[in-house]
Symmetry: C4
Subunit: 245 residues, 4 copies
């Protein structure tokens, strides 16, 4: 079995594993589980995480050119190593919904908006869970409810940083640092996408005002070539006719 | 009656309803109304809100292709569902003021600046009203005057977030979250518009240095075609003249 | 006397007036003047401010088409109405330093960087003076030294907003609001200038890989026209030579 | 010896000096050295700093056109004057790792990402060391551990600014101001790089849909010229043949 076949076949099982991970983690943190229930969620998280790591290892083993596959699938590595980010894979499924016919630019921007929004929502949600799990029972913690955690994540990802709620633990600070840089990157994505749209719209005139294409010039070169050949050809055939004269 | 006619006819009544909504809401919150006066503003808000929802439903019903109309008028849905955002419709009227002749890019940027400034002012104002209404009488609230609310909104929408004033209620936090993301989007719009302007200005040389247009190449192709035809034509007429020779 | 002559002649006196304004305002606020010295600076500020307003009114009166002049010189109006912003005019002088030969894009970006840096420095400095003047003797104020004011201005203009120092007066909050929005705009200018530079650099290949210019195609059209004319011309002169045959 | 030879030969020694500077400074601050160990690090820092200044002076002296060299190597001046920033030179070595074949735009963006990430990491690390050194023993300081310093640097460079940790000394505030502006610039670099990538991707069609190149048009002009010459030439040779008739 080759890597592509494996990837196609494991896609849906992995989506279900992602959902299991998400639900188990949400339940564990929001309900602040303890005892047996906490142990069960620990097992679910461990098993689903292991599934993703195995999937990555199998794909790497099945790939023909492992070096090239590794370099081209850095995203897959990220999904495999960080259990929280892996859920973004769900969005790949969401973006496959058939849409209207779009230009290359519009299609790219649509994908960026869908993925970007999805990544932002998933990361804010998971960061909220992780920070709440880390902070809740820490001494001097201010983030003690799920509402607090969501509010803090939004305040952090937009780099607003009121400072009313601040992580007190190292784990919370790590989540915060990640969220801030993700926020800077996401605001860059928003701005760049808008810039691409505005630049495209601003240059929109009639098709006649668009920059000439290479295709057009190739067509022209062919025409000029065709023009040159018969002319010199007919003159050559003319020359003999005139010489016998 | 078709959808376009309805839209033209209901435009001004809806602008007046928007203003009524804005004035009633401002009066209600800033004056911190109670008793009968509060009930009157509640009624005005409810009726104007209902007007917008009815307008949306009627337009959808009148549209020929409802699916296509729905996808193309997501903005109208936003205006209908969220009473506060609906006032941005006023700006549509403002941008119709006839201006100077502008290039496609300059016209787009002018519209973006006018709409963007308008959206920012309306959202900051409405967010200030909403947060003041939510916070004012809440225990432990710091946003207690209209001046506080405006200052907090500006601090939030620019993602500065001093933290001197922070919402204490869930409704206030919701308004804050909205404002932060709007702020990130607005700063993206500012940057992207500036980038479009700079890119356009930076590439400005003489017209001779601009990228060749498709129109120019089409003109050239036609010329080459015209050149090719009479030449071979005259050669054909020449051939018989030379053959009789 | 026409508007351009007036503008040339009043340029240097106004630069001196700007400097007088800046020095008087700096001295007044930093030294926390009182009594006679404060009155003297009040007079200097009032006179220099009046000079700028008079200059604007005279320029408007001298302009041929007042409507067009007004629309084209909104910057001059800003400089005339807001005394603090007027000092940015000094930068106009600074950017006239002759530099190296630059492409249109590089020249534009150089101007943006010089003006932008200048505007940022002037605004941060003036905002620091204004906020210090407003806050210093206010009850509950945290911005009480010039160092505090500069730090607060930098924290505000970059939209960092620690919240360790926060304006307590309405005037201070107004200055803060202005600084935040200026900060958003300036960060947009930085980003857009970088984007223009990167887009230009990214598309740089050999000159042969650059988009074809309109000038090139015009040269080509002229060549094709020249090619078409003599050919049909010589054929016409050939036709009579062959017909007598 | 010319400047280029000197630069090639001193490259590796300077990298080692940079590393020595970094290790000495890290050890000094993190271990909070005192007595002899502190004096030793002071000497290492002084000597390595002096090495860089000497290198700059020698390069300037060896340059043929000193004015032009000075203007073209403002970066080298920055590295020589500010000891902390000088370590960024290490990245120049890192970016020389041979990569895959990339388009001009992709190569530029790769360099920007590598350098940008490196500059960000070095600056955050050095700012953390400097602020910790300045704050640790200051009265009323909140940044007292290396973890605090790193967290504060990340909160500052992303312009989040919670305000839980704020510098209390002038030196700390100076570092903070630098970090904030670096943060604004870095987020601009991220956004601009993303914009360049999106604009390039958005305009990607087949090669035929790319803007026509100057090279193509030059090829075409040569073809048209070649077409014009033989035609008039053969007509000239035809003319004599017909005139003798």
């Amino acid at each position: 079995m080759d890597e592509a076949t494996w990837h196609r076949r494991t896609e849906w099982p992995l989506v279900i594993a992602s959902l299991a991970f998400l639900i188990a983690y949400s339940w564990r943190v929001i309900a602040d589980l303890s005892g047996l229930a906490r142990d069960v969620t620990t097992w679910i998280l461990a098993v689903t995480w292991l599934l993703f790591i195995c999937d990555y290892v199998v794909r790497l083993a099945l790939a023909r050119f492992r070096g090239a596959w590794f370099r081209r699938h850095l995203g897959a590595l990220t999904f495999a190593v960080l259990p929280t980010l892996r859920l973004v894979l769900l969005l790949r499924v969401l973006t496959r919904i058939p849409g209207m016919r779009l230009s290359a630019g519009a299609a790219l921007r649509t994908r960026i908006v869908v993925y970007g929004t999805g990544v932002a929502i998933v990361l804010i949600y998971l960061a909220s869970l992780t920070v709440l799990d880390a902070e809740r029972h820490a001494p001097g913690a201010t983030i003690v409810t799920f509402g607090d955690a969501i509010w803090w994540s939004c305040v952090t990802v937009t780099t607003t940083g009121y400072g009313d709620l601040v992580p007190a633990t190292d784990e919370g600070r790590l989540v915060g640092t990640g969220l801030m840089f993700v926020g800077v990157a996401l605001s860059g994505v928003i701005t760049a996408t808008l810039a691409s749209w505005i630049v495209e719209r601003a240059s929109r005139g009639g098709d006649d005002a668009e920059p000439a294409t290479r295709g057009q010039v190739r067509e022209l070169i062919a025409k000029v070539d065709a023009l040159g050949e018969p002319v010199t050809g007919s003159e050559r055939t003319e020359d003999p006719t005139t010489t016998p004269d």
